[in-house]
Structure formats: structure tokens, C-alpha cells
């Protein structure tokens, strides 16, 4: 590799090539890692950007996250798992984190870091299943930044890059520090990042978007630099809005006063949209720092006074927006601590007269209802307020009217004593008005509310009507529910945002751009693999796997092998399995694979694997459990792997594979029609290719033929005869029941092994016959004659090349070995699209109980399609590991077979690309010595894969 080169100029280009050719093959970086780090500052700037990304991925894959980094501290807060590993370290860390950044939002950072690791799609979708445990980072996946030289050298060599002239380099370097650097060192990225804000407007926006995430995760980092986020009037609206958001995150008690002063200036900005945002930001600030609430509310109230001067004329929509925003901010502030803001509510109510914006009015009225029983003054003024509202009711906007109704209802519910009558009168007046309103929403609401409070009155004994008690109670509860106080603490906003690696395009557009890769799994790259990868053949193979293999799994491949082998072993040998007959899981596992159609793995290997199984039984159990869930990821650490594993299996590279055990049961043979009832006097003949292999001669293909009598009369004397042979041997026609044993011995195999004739077929009856046919050509149809009731019907039997092969069970290694021996002209490839799985996935969606992996669904549907259209043996399914949930790229299925007539092996590999939910692009590759046959088979496969599934 050129990455080896001494010259920095070459390395830059080599890095770019590496990133575009084999970005996953991080093991290649290993040997040169140190040199690359040292050379990094001298590489030309564009190369630096790429190289930094590669090095970061390598370090993560090699050593895992850094214990002292931000990313880690949150992991330890949540997963007690890691606490076990180093409780002393953790406690130290927690302390450190608290005094370093008391306000560090751990949950948020946790989300972010997980998103970095797995890609948000995967993470978010998984958290919805609520089984986060599957991604438990154990302590071993972390390394100490202080003790690990590789991490140290990376940080050391990237830190001068923070001074680079190229903003992209700075951001890339900052990203490395953000993820890897010890907490106390993260500070150093802040100034350079902020300095980037001074570069062009376009990059300013991008940088701010990244700062936004940083600041949300660790506000304390940016808190001292709040001045940098002050806004210039010349900036674009997006930048202003971002700056406001960041300011509201990083405001602290010490800086808030100057920030508020700024905000006051912004409110008078000619850009009213921005002013409205500012008001909202004030609300946010106060929610973070309740101390400032009083000052802010005063300021906001003053604003309402100011605004409604213009509001009288209502000449601009945006002014209305500001006012609404003001009231909303006030509302959110009051919500935090209602009792202390009683006066504010009163002031707002007084101002009702002048506030004309419907939304704002509605909100004030809502507040009246919500806090109607609060303090001492409000209850006293309620009567007046309600009277005032009732008086103005007809002229209000619908929105406001709804709120008035609600409020009156709420007040009525809580009312006691003298006021009640007044309220009741107002209420009934309003209901009457509302019921005749033009707006149907309003009429509906009125009818609903009319019913509700009556119960309240009944229970107080003021209404003569006597309802039975249970209903009464029920109504009461309903009323409570609908009108009840909603002052419950609002849950902290769910982090619905998606987070991507800092500096990535995806972070800006907030969806995973094609090609976006989250960080590799920590410690997925092991030292052994580095050594293994030195050999050229292995390197090639590793590239074949496109780096998606979890190298960690190679530590105990025999476990995995045995897990998937077991079933086939059982099905073939029918062994009693006495050593583990006690495990019910095993039997069911075996049953899955009992179908002879699918033999997941090599049989010849079984004895060797049995070794491994018996030696590593306990670990195997867990393995099989996951296997039962049709997934066999392995990410056990090398340290924890079984010591007694056979040596030779350690060396083998294996990829993550799934066993698609139960597919066999679902394989449906496609049936073709040979004769339809219309032309066959009510006799319907269907045939399908069977996967059985002829016992007579290897040139024969087995066909299952179904005869069905669709007519109302009995059909008798049905037989199928080869037309040509029929002509030749005229004598041996109609009842040519030839002894089969005589045929087996004969050398020249007849075109058709004559079938047993069906004596008679009752109406509606179906009979099945196995036909053994020898096709002369694998594309041309065979002409046959069907005799029934003494009539001769010519029919054509079309061959299916998919059944001119028979399964050839083999191991993956053997497969790859054979494949590598059939290169060049013996290898044919085609691509096509595949859509079957979409139906499958949609089906899955409906079925919430059975949450299946999307990959699995794809594999299954793909394998099913293949196996039901051709007589093949599924060798292996390779799954990508490092991809996100939605991206099926890297999935690879291998099928093996041999040509019936010549016993030449024929290997088929299907690679999948594309998103799970979209049509997938398949690349089909056939390796076969017989060129013509291989090509035809390839075309056949491509054709049937494209065909939509029959449902």
C-alpha cells in the first residue's frame, strides 16, 4: 500500500484512495498507524481531512473509546455494567465530571455518543423496542487515553491541526478530540472552532450546526465564550437562529444578564421573525435558570405593553407572532412556579382588553382557567373576568372562544359558594351562544361541556335531577380528566434529533447521507487479525468480506460453526446427540434445519466441530440462544473466549452468519401448467420441478406432475409419453408400463422414464406422479404426448435450468477456495433488483409481537426465492456488521450446486446493496466451468429474482 510511503504528498492521495476503495479495511492501517500519525501535520490539507477520519475509525476499532472522554462518562452513568469493571475509576470520573461541568447533560451526551457509534437510525429504532441492553458497552471496550499510546499520539498529532488554515481540517481535528480526548482537554478545541465562525458565511453555518450539538452536550465548554455568539445584523436568518439557540443553551448565572441585554436589543431588530425567536429564547433561558424568572417576566410584560400599541392596527402578521411568542414564554415561565407569578397573571388578564391577537388571547384565557384557584386575588377577580369574557364572546375568534368555554368550565368545576350561581349563569349563557355558533368545532365543544359540569353540580346537591350514582361518578372522573390541572411537570423533551459524527454532511442535513458510516464497533479490530491480514490471500478475502465482518468473532469461530453446524449434523447423521440431549433448545434448533433442502454448513466438518462443541458447552448455550433468535453475532472479547478451543480454528476467519434454518419449511415449488382444463377435456395437469434427484440416472430431472380432474366425468387411462419415442416404438405405446429396474441398467437413458399410468381419475380428484425426464437441451422445451381416454394431446414441457443442478453442500472456506479457482471467463455477473422483501417487511410491521431483524427478513425472502426456483444449497449468509439498520449493503448469500449431468460445481454468490425498505440492487455472480450453462443459469436466476413474489 502506498500508505506506507514516506512522502507526505503520497500519503494524502493514498488516504483518499483508501477511503474510496476500502474504507472498512482498517486492519491495513494498523502497521502504518504510527507513521501516519507522525506524518499527519505534513500531509497536504485536503488529505489531512480524510486521513483524520480514517485514523479515528482505526483507533476506535482497535482500542475502543477513551475512558476519560466525554463519550465515556455518560456511558458509565447509565450502564452499571461498566461500573463493575472499574468502580474506582468511575467514581473518580463522576466527581471529575461534576466539577468540570456540572451541567453536562449526561442523557443527551449518551444519546449523541450512541448515535455516533451505531448511526441514529439503528439506535433510535432500537430504543423504541426498548431493548437497549444489546448494545452494552463493557468496560473492556474502553481504553485509557492516558495509558494508550495510540490514542495519545493521535491526539498529539491532531492538535496542531486545530490551527490549520483550512476550516474543514480544523473541524475534522476537533471531531477527533471531541470523541477521543480526555474531558479536561476537550476545552482546547473550543477556541479554534469559534474562530472558524469568522470564516465565510457558508462555513459559519456548518460550524454553528456542529457547535449546537457540542453546546447541548456540554454547555460549560462554551459558557465563557458567549460573546462570540452575539449576533450581527448582517447575518442571515438561519445563522441568527442558530446563535440564539446556542446562547440559550450556554447561558449561565454569570452571563445571563449580559445575554439578556443583548436579547433586548434583538427584540427591536427590524427582522421580526428573529425578534419572535429571541422572545422564545428568553423563555428557554429562564427554564434553564429559574433565578432570572422575575426579571424576564417583567421584561416580557413590558414588551406586551409595547407591542400592543402597534397591535391596535394589526398591520403585520409578524407582530402577532411576537406577541404570541411573548405570551407563550410567559406561560412556560409561570408553569415552572405558578404561585410566585400570581401578579403576572393578573397583569396579563388586565391587559386582555388590549391584546387582540387571538392566539395570545386564547393563551391568557387558558392561564386564567388553569390557575383559577391560585393565590387570593385571582379567585376574587374571576367573576368580573368571566363576565367580561362572556360579554365579548360573540366577537371573539373561534380559537379564543374555545378557550373561553374551557376556562369557564374549569372555573365552574372548582367553584364553591356564592360565585357558583354567577358562574353557572355565565356558563349556560355561553353554551347557548356557542351552540349556535358558525364553527362546528365550537358547537361540538359546547355540547360536550354542557354535559360535563352537570355532575359537579349534582354532587353538590344544587341540581334537583337525581342521577344514579355510578354514572355520576363516572362523569365526574371524566370531567376531572378533561379539565384537570395539567400542571404536571412536562417531561424533559425527548431527544428526537438525530446526531451524526461531527463535521459530517449527515449532521447538517440530519439524515444519513449515502455512504455515512457511524464509528466502527469499539475493539472490533484485534491484533490477531492484523497479523492474519499480513498474508496476501487473507487480505484479499478480507476485502471480499468488504470489511463488514466482525473480526472479533474470529476468536471463537468454532463456537459459531458448531452453532450453525449442529442442525445439519443432526439432520444428516440423525445422531442421537447424547452429549447434549438435555437441551430443548438444541432439539428445536435441529428441527429447524431438519429439512434436507437447506444444509447450512459443511457436513464433513462436523466431527471436527463436535470437538469444539463439547469443549465449549457453556459458552455454546448462549450462542445457541442467540442463534435461535436467528442471529449469531459474536462479539466476545478475546480474553473471555474459551481457552480450550482447538488451535486450528482460531486462525480461521469467519464472518457473522445467520442460519436461515426455517426457510426450508417455507420453500414453495413453483408450479407450471402443462395442460389447462379447456384444452384437455377437463383434465388439468400442472407440474413443478422437484428437488429430488433421480435415482436412475444423473441425466434425469425429477418433475412432479399433478393431474386434476376438473370435469364432472371420470377420466381414465392417463399417461404421459415422449412423443418421439412414441413414434419410434409404436408398439410399446398406450400401456407402456416398463419395469423401472430394467431402465437403471440400460446405458442410453430414455428421454422420459415412463410413468405409471393413472387408471382413472374421479371428478375433483388430484393425483401426483413423479416424472423423470431427460431434457436434451436446457432451454428448449420437450414435446410430450398425453394420452387420456384414448385421446392424444400434444404438450410441451419447458425445462427450468434451475433444476438442472443439484445441491452440493460445502463449507464456506471450500466455497471461497473453489470460487477463487474459477476466475475470469468462468465468472459471470449480472445485477438486478429485488423487491420481495418489501412485502415481507410490511408484513413484519403489522406483526408487532415478532420483531424481526430487517436483515433477516431480506435474507429469508431472498433465500426463499432462490431455493424455490432452483435446486441449490445455501452455503452461507454474510451480514454486514458496521452498517446502520436500514442499509442492507454488504449482505452476501452464497449458494452452491453442481450440474446434474456433468457434476461440475456451479457457485452462485448474491451481493445485496441498497436500503432495506427500498428495492435492493442484487449483484449475482455465477462461477462455473461450463460457460454456456453458467450464463443461462445466471439469466434464469436474474429473471426469477426480478419477478415479484406471488402472494
Amino acid at each position: 500500500m502506498l500508505l506506507n510511503d514516506r512522502s507526505p504528498a503520497v500519503v494524502g492521495a493514498a488516504a483518499a484512495a483508501f477511503a474510496s476503495v476500502c474504507p472498512y479495511n482498517l486492519s491495513l492501517v494498523g502497521r502504518n498507524y504510527r507513521k501516519l500519525c507522525e506524518i499527519l501535520p505534513d500531509v497536504e490539507e485536503w488529505g489531512q481531512i480524510v486521513l483524520i477520519g480514517i485514523l479515528l475509525r482505526y483507533v476506535i476499532a482497535r482500542h475502543g473509546l477513551v475512558k476519560e472522554s466525554i463519550m465515556y462518562s455518560l456511558q458509565c452513568t447509565e450502564s452499571s455494567h461498566s461500573a463493575k469493571d472499574g468502580s474506582d475509576v468511575d467514581s473518580g470520573l463522576v466527581k471529575e465530571s461534576t466539577d468540570l461541568s456540572g451541567t453536562c447533560d449526561s442523557e443527551f451526551v449518551n444519546t449523541v455518543s450512541r448515535c455516533y457509534m451505531e448511526g441514529p437510525d439503528e439506535y433510535l429504532s432500537r430504543s423504541s423496542y426498548a431493548n437497549r441492553e444489546s448494545f452494552e458497552l463493557n468496560g473492556a471496550q474502553f481504553t485509557s487515553g492516558k495509558s494508550n499510546d495510540d490514542v495519545k499520539i493521535l491526539l498529539y498529532s491532531t492538535s496542531p491541526l486545530l490551527w490549520s488554515n483550512n476550516s474543514a481540517v480544523v473541524l475534522a481535528a476537533a471531531g477527533v478530540h471531541w470523541v477521543m480526548a480526555p474531558k479536561e482537554d476537550v476545552k482546547r478545541i473550543i477556541k479554534p472552532i469559534l474562530y472558524l465562525l469568522r470564516s465565510s458565511n457558508a462555513s459559519k453555518y456548518v460550524v454553528l450546526r456542529n457547535i449546537q450539538v457540542f453546546a447541548k452536550a456540554m454547555p460549560s465548554l462554551f459558557a465563557p465564550y458567549f460573546e462570540d455568539f452575539f449576533i450581527f445584523s448582517s447575518e442571515s436568518y438561519q445563522i441568527k437562529a442558530l446563535k440564539l439557540e446556542i446562547l440559550s443553551y450556554i447561558a449561565t448565572d454569570s452571563s445571563i444578564s449580559s445575554i439578556f441585554k443583548e436579547f433586548q436589543d434583538y427584540i427591536r431588530d427590524p427582522d421580526r421573525r428573529f425578534a419572535a425567536d429571541t422572545v422564545a429564547a428568553i423563555g428557554l433561558c429562564v427554564q434553564r435558570l429559574p433565578k432570572m424568572a422575575h426579571i424576564c417576566v417583567d421584561g416580557l410584560l413590558a414588551l406586551t405593553r409595547q407591542e400592543f400599541v402597534t397591535e391596535d392596527f394589526g398591520f403585520e402578521d409578524q407582530e402577532a407572532g411576537i406577541l404570541t411568542q411573548v405570551i407563550m414564554s410567559i406561560k412556560s415561565i409561570i408553569k415552572q412556579d405558578p404561585p410566585s407569578h400570581e401578579k403576572v397573571i393578573i397583569q396579563l388578564v388586565r391587559r386582555l382588553d388590549s391584546v387582540k391577537v387571538p392566539a395570545a388571547r386564547a393563551m391568557i384565557i387558558w392561564m386564567v382557567g388553569e390557575y383559577s384557584s391560585l393565590g387570593e386575588i385571582i379567585p376574587r377577580m374571576l367573576t368580573t373576568v368571566l363576565k367580561y369574557l362572556a360579554w365579548g364572546f360573540p366577537s371573539e375568534a373561534p380559537e379564543t372562544k374555545l378557550q373561553i368555554l374551557n376556562t369557564v368550565c374549569k372555573v365552574l368545576e372548582g367553584a364553591t359558594g356564592d360565585d357558583l350561581w354567577t358562574f353557572k349563569k355565565i356558563f349556560s349563557y355561553l353554551i347557548e351562544l356557542a351552540e349556535c355558533d358558525l364553527n362546528y368545532d365550537l358547537r361540538d365543544r359546547a355540547r360536550l361541556l354542557k354535559k360535563l359540569p352537570s355532575c359537579n353540580l349534582v354532587s353538590l346537591g344544587l341540581e334537583e335531577e337525581t342521577n344514579d350514582l355510578p354514572e355520576n361518578d363516572l362523569l365526574h372522573i371524566v370531567a376531572e380528566c378533561i379539565l384537570g390541572r395539567q400542571t404536571r411537570k412536562v417531561k424533559p423533551e425527548s431527544f428526537s434529533y438525530r446526531y451524526y459524527l461531527p463535521g459530517s454532511l449527515s449532521q447538517i442535513v440530519l439524515h444519513a447521507a449515502p455512504g455515512y458510516e457511524p464509528l466502527p464497533k469499539p475493539c472490533s479490530l484485534l491484533l490477531d487479525d492484523l497479523n492474519v491480514a499480513e498474508g496476501t490471500s487473507e487480505m484479499k478475502r478480507a476485502a471480499d468480506y468488504s470489511g463488514t465482518d466482525d473480526y472479533g468473532s474470529s476468536s471463537d469461530p468454532s463456537d459459531e460453526e458448531s452453532a450453525s453446524d449442529y442442525g445439519s449434523q443432526r439432520s444428516v447423521t440423525e445422531s442421537s446427540g447424547s452429549d447434549r440431549g438435555d437441551d430443548s433448545e438444541f432439539t428445536s434448533e435441529g428441527n429447524y434445519n431438519a429439512d434436507p433442502l437447506i444444509q447450512i454448513s459443511d457436513i464433513g466438518n462436523a466431527s471436527e466441530n463436535q470437538n469444539g462443541v463439547s469443549q465449549s458447552s457453556p459458552a455454546n448455550l448462549g450462542e445457541l440462544m442467540s442463534n435461535k433468535a436467528l442471529e449469531s453475532w459474536l462479539d466476545e472479547q478475546p480474553g473471555s473466549s474459551n481457552p480450550g478451543l482447538p488451535k486450528q480454528s482460531q486462525v480461521r476467519i469467519s464472518s457473522a452468519r445467520i442460519s436461515v434454518g426455517d426457510v426450508g419449511k417455507r420453500v414453495k415449488q413453483k408450479s407450471y401448467s402443462l395442460l389447462d382444463p379447456a384444452s384437455g377435456n377437463g383434465l388439468k395437469v400442472d407440474y413443478s420441478f422437484s428437488s429430488e434427484i433421480s435415482s436412475i440416472s444423473r441425466l434425469l430431472v425429477c418433475i412432479e406432475v399433478f393431474f386434476k380432474n376438473c370435469s364432472s366425468e371420470i377420466i381414465s387411462e392417463i399417461t404421459l409419453v415422449d412423443e418421439e419415442s412414441n413414434r419410434a416404438f409404436d408398439s410399446a405405446d398406450k400401456t407402456a408400463v416398463v419395469n423401472e429396474s430394467s431402465l437403471t441398467s440400460s446405458d442410453d437413458v430414455p428421454t422420459l422414464v415412463p410413468m405409471e399410468s393413472i387408471v382413472s381419475l374421479e371428478p375433483g380428484q388430484t393425483t401426483r406422479r413423479i416424472l423423470q425426464v431427460r431434457f436434451h437441451h436446457h432451454l428448449l422445451p420437450l414435446k410430450l404426448a398425453l394420452y387420456c381416454d384414448g385421446k392424444k394431446l400434444p404438450i410441451k414441457l419447458r425445462p427450468d435450468i434451475g433444476y438442472f443442478v443439484k445441491p452440493l453442500p460445502m463449507d464456506v472456506e471450500v466455497f471461497i477456495d473453489k470460487e477463487s479457482r474459477l476466475p475470469g471467463m468462468f465468472e459471470y455477473a449480472r445485477s438486478c433488483t429485488f423487491t420481495d422483501h418489501i412485502v415481507e417487511l410490511n408484513k413484519e410491521n403489522g406483526d408487532s409481537l415478532l420483531v424481526k431483524d430487517k436483515f433477516l427478513a431480506i435474507c429469508e425472502s431472498l433465500a426463499l426465492k432462490m431455493l424455490s426456483n432452483a435446486n441449490l444449497c445455501l452455503v452461507s449468509v454474510d451480514m454486514p456488521i458496521a452498517t446502520n439498520l436500514d442499509d442492507a449493503s454488504g449482505l452476501r448469500l452464497r449458494f452452491s450446486s453442481e450440474i446434474l449431468s456433468s457434476s461440475i460445481p456451479c457457485l452462485i454468490t448474491i451481493g445485496v446493496e441498497g436500503k432495506c425498505t427500498d428495492p435492493l440492487n442484487l449483484s449475482i455472480k455465477v462461477n462455473c466451468e461450463e460457460t454456456v450453462f453458467g450464463l443461462n443459469l445466471l439469466n434464469r436466476i436474474a429473471n426469477f429474482l426480478v419477478e415479484p413474489a406471488l402472494s
Binding site: S7, A9, A16, E44, E45, W46, I49, P160, W163, S164, N165, N166, S167, A168, V170, L171, A172, K191, L194, Y195, R198, S200, N201, A202, S203, Y205, V206, V207, E227, F230, F232, S233, S236, Y237, Q238, I239, S258, K261, E262, D265, R268, D269, P270, A275, V309, T310, F313, F315, G503, S504, L505, I508, V509, H511, A512, A513, P514, G515, Y516, E517
Partner: protein, 415 residues
């Protein structure tokens, strides 16, 4: 990786299209882009990263020309944006400005430049000095020559020697009769003054620009008298990081010709050279404006080309503004600009007048922000001083020059 670069004129016409990879990007993406620009206005134009249905677009707007780059896959967005900025810098450097006509006149050069700057979607040579060696900048002689000979290419036949050397930014062994180095400090002052007249923020962004014409492979060291005042720095790739880390000395092998050695930021300055005192009082459908401008702390050098600009609020019908010094213009889109020039000795320049508000409006509730521009020659307002400039491999004679200049950057006065 970038797949395609488009240059659009301010009317949305595709002036130039440069496909970078095998995957052709259809021109229709520009139509899509321009449709959105028209329908969404400025807010779309100021979005640097746009996710279109088929591609991700990076956009940089310079002097009315939109540079668009397309990609379909994940890449650092700053890489795209930074590259476009470099392209625009290089182009304006080559063509002596950037506008539609100049680009259309020099298509060949622009294509040649893009060819060198980006290769298969990956930025390659972006250093202006090296590009100059490969592609001769346009001038009268070459134009005449190309017309006469019909040979339109001005790509030089030889690769610049630098590509082979370990210092890619410097051509091999240039020769000069007189060795000269000029160092310019160019500073921009950003300041925000709030409504109360208090200084909210005052910072200086500076650049050290070096113009070197030195023979051989010179190794320069530049040190400042007061490096401690520097808050942030960014360096040209030629600067060695370690000496700066240890004792804040700039040690570098300069490229040939003019380049930006470093840029820096100095924060929390205490005062501005100018004061601007706007007064706006508004009642009865009118708004009286009175703005005073004067020198606060005399920096010791003359303050040149003072300008004042502000956007009139949208609710204003007409404006009647006069000044006792300089000229007042109200441009289209309601920008009022007051060109003062130098401040006279005998009087304080003031702008006064009335704004007539829209009819229903009683008084003005939004107030404009004034943007101030000025220039001071021969002075670095930050107070940063260059201590000395040494050449390690001393040639026979070295001429060193030093200049300083301060301009207003984002100097805003709120009213």
C-alpha cells in the same frame, strides 16, 4: 467526493459546468436550485448545504456568482465549502475581480484552473502560488499572442518543481536580483455597540500577509513583540507548529510571492477609534433621526473613508435626510448610506432628518442598526507588533518591509 461544479450568474444562468467524476450530474439540478431560490428568496440562498432530491448541494455566493458543488455521498461539508471558497479566491485573484463578464471572457482559464484544483472530485492543488506557475494568469500579451497564434492554452508544459520537493508550496530555486520580504498586518475590527452606547463586544481579526521574493530556500522566523495578546491563530501550511507551541515564534519556509501567513484574533479590546451616536425619536407618524460621528481616542493616524450604512425599517414611506459633511444616498432596497470620508477638524459630522412612517403607524418600534466602515493606514489597532524577522540562510542583502492597515469589519451600532 464532489461530482460536479456549477457557476451560476445572478440571473440563474449556468455559466460554467465542470463534471468531475464519471457520474454525470444533470444540469437540471441547477434549475431545481434556481426555482427554489426564486420561490424561497434569500433564506434559501443563505443555506450553504442543501439536500436536493438527487444530490447534496454546497453553495457559496461571491459577488453575485453562485458556486454550486454537487455530491451524492457523505463527505465533510466544510471540505466542499472551503474548496468553493478557495476556487472563488483563486478566480478573483486570477481575473482581478469576480463577475459574470470576466468569467465568460476567461472560460479557458477557469476550466484550466478547475482542472488543476480538483481531481476526480478530490481537491488537489489549491495554493495560488503554485497554480500561477502552472497556468499563466491572463494578461494583454498572452491574449494578443493567443489571438495571433491561435494557441489558446496557457498551461505551462512543465510541472512546477515544487510538486516533487518536500515543500509543496514553494517552487524550486527561484532567483531574484534583490531579495525582498514585505510583511503586512491587515486587521479588521468587529465591534458591537448597544443601544445604551456601551461597547458590547470589540474584537480584531488580523492577517499577516507576506510578500516574499527570496532566492533559494529561505528559512524565515518571525516573532512578535507581544504574542500574548493573541487569542486564536491559524496558520498557512508552511508554518511549523512546534516552534509556535514552545515559544510562539513563526518559523517557516515561505512560498514565493504573496500569501497569507497567519490569521489571528484578539478579543476584548477596550475601545473603538470612532464613536457613533444615533438618536431616533418617533411620535405622531414621524421619526426624527440624528446621528453624530466623531473620533473617540485619536489613534494617531488619520481615519479614512468613513462610511455609515443602515437599513431603513420597512414601515417607512419616505425619508428626508441631510448631513453637514459628506454625502447621503438612499439606495434601492431602502439602504441609506452616508459617506463621510475623513472627519474634518472644525466640526462633527452629523446626519439629521425625518422619516415619514406609514399612515396608520403612530410611532416606530423597530430601530435600524448602523454599520460603520473606516480604514486606518499604518496602524494595527490591536497593538500587535512585529518584533523581528530573521532569515536563517542569510543572502547577501535582504530588504524587509512592514506595513499595517486596519479596517472596520462588522462594526455595528444599534439604535
Amino acid at each position: 467526493m464532489l461530482q460536479c461544479i456549477f457557476l451560476l450568474s445572478d440571473s440563474g444562468e449556468v455559466m460554467l459546468e465542470k463534471q468531475l467524476t464519471g457520474h454525470r450530474v444533470d444540469r437540471s439540478i441547477c434549475d431545481w436550485f434556481w426555482d427554489h431560490v426564486i420561490s424561497q428568496g434569500d433564506s434559501f440562498k443563505s443555506q450553504p448545504v442543501i439536500a436536493s432530491p438527487t444530490h447534496y448541494l454546497f453553495q457559496v455566493v461571491r459577488e453575485g456568482i453562485t458556486f454550486l458543488a454537487c455530491t451524492q455521498v457523505e463527505m465533510p461539508p466544510l471540505m466542499g465549502i472551503e474548496f468553493l471558497c478557495r476556487v472563488s479566491d483563486v478566480l478573483s485573484d486570477y481575473l482581478g475581480g469576480l463577475n459574470e463578464d470576466v468569467i465568460k471572457d476567461n472560460f479557458v482559464i477557469v476550466y484550466e484552473l478547475l482542472d488543476e484544483m480538483i481531481d476526480n472530485g478530490f481537491p488537489l492543488t489549491t495554493e495560488a502560488n503554485i497554480l500561477r506557475e502552472m497556468i499563466a494568469p491572463p494578461n494583454i500579451v498572452s491574449k494578443v499572442l493567443s489571438v495571433v497564434t491561435g494557441n489558446s492554452s496557457n498551461v505551462s508544459d512543465t510541472l512546477p518543481g515544487a510538486t516533487g520537493s518536500c515543500i509543496p508550496w514553494r517552487a524550486a530555486e527561484p532567483k531574484y536580483a534583490n531579495n525582498e520580504v514585505y510583511v503586512d498586518l491587515v486587521e479588521e475590527m468587529d465591534a458591537v455597540i448597544n443601544r445604551d452606547g456601551a461597547l458590547v463586544k470589540c474584537e480584531v481579526y488580523g492577517e499577516v500577509r507576506v510578500n516574499s521574493h527570496l532566492s533559494g530556500l529561505p528559512d524565515l522566523t518571525l516573532s512578535f513583540a507581544n504574542p500574548s495578546i493573541l487569542d486564536d491563530v491559524r496558520f498557512h501550511p508552511c508554518v511549523r507548529f512546534r516552534p509556535w507551541e514552545s515559544h510562539q515564534v513563526l518559523s517557516f519556509v515561505p512560498p514565493d510571492g504573496e500569501f497569507k501567513l497567519m490569521s489571528y484574533r484578539i478579543k476584548k479590546l477596550k475601545s473603538t477609534p470612532l464613536y457613533v451616536k444615533p438618536q431616533l425619536t418617533s411620535d405622531a407618524g414621524k421619526c426624527r433621526v440624528n446621528v453624530l460621528v466623531g473620533i473617540r481616542n485619536d489613534p494617531g493616524k488619520t481615519i479614512d473613508s468613513i462610511t455609515l450604512e443602515f437599513q431603513l425599517p420597512p414601515c417607512i414611506l419616505s425619508a428626508d435626510l441631510n448631513s453637514n459633511h459628506g454625502t447621503v444616498n438612499i439606495l434601492g432596497n431602502k439602504i441609506c448610506s452616508w459617506t463621510i470620508g475623513r472627519i474634518p477638524k472644525d466640526k462633527t459630522p452629523s446626519l439629521s432628518g425625518t422619516l415619514l412612517l406609514e399612515t396608520e403607524l403612530e410611532r416606530l418600534h423597530v430601530f435600524p442598526t448602523f454599520r460603520v466602515g473606516f480604514r486606518i493606514m499604518g496602524l494595527a489597532l490591536s497593538g500587535l507588533q512585529i518584533d523581528k524577522l530573521d532569515l536563517k540562510t542569510a543572502p547577501s542583502r535582504l530588504y524587509k518591509g512592514f506595513r499595517a492597515l486596519t479596517r472596520a469589519g462588522e462594526f455595528e451600532v444599534r439604535s
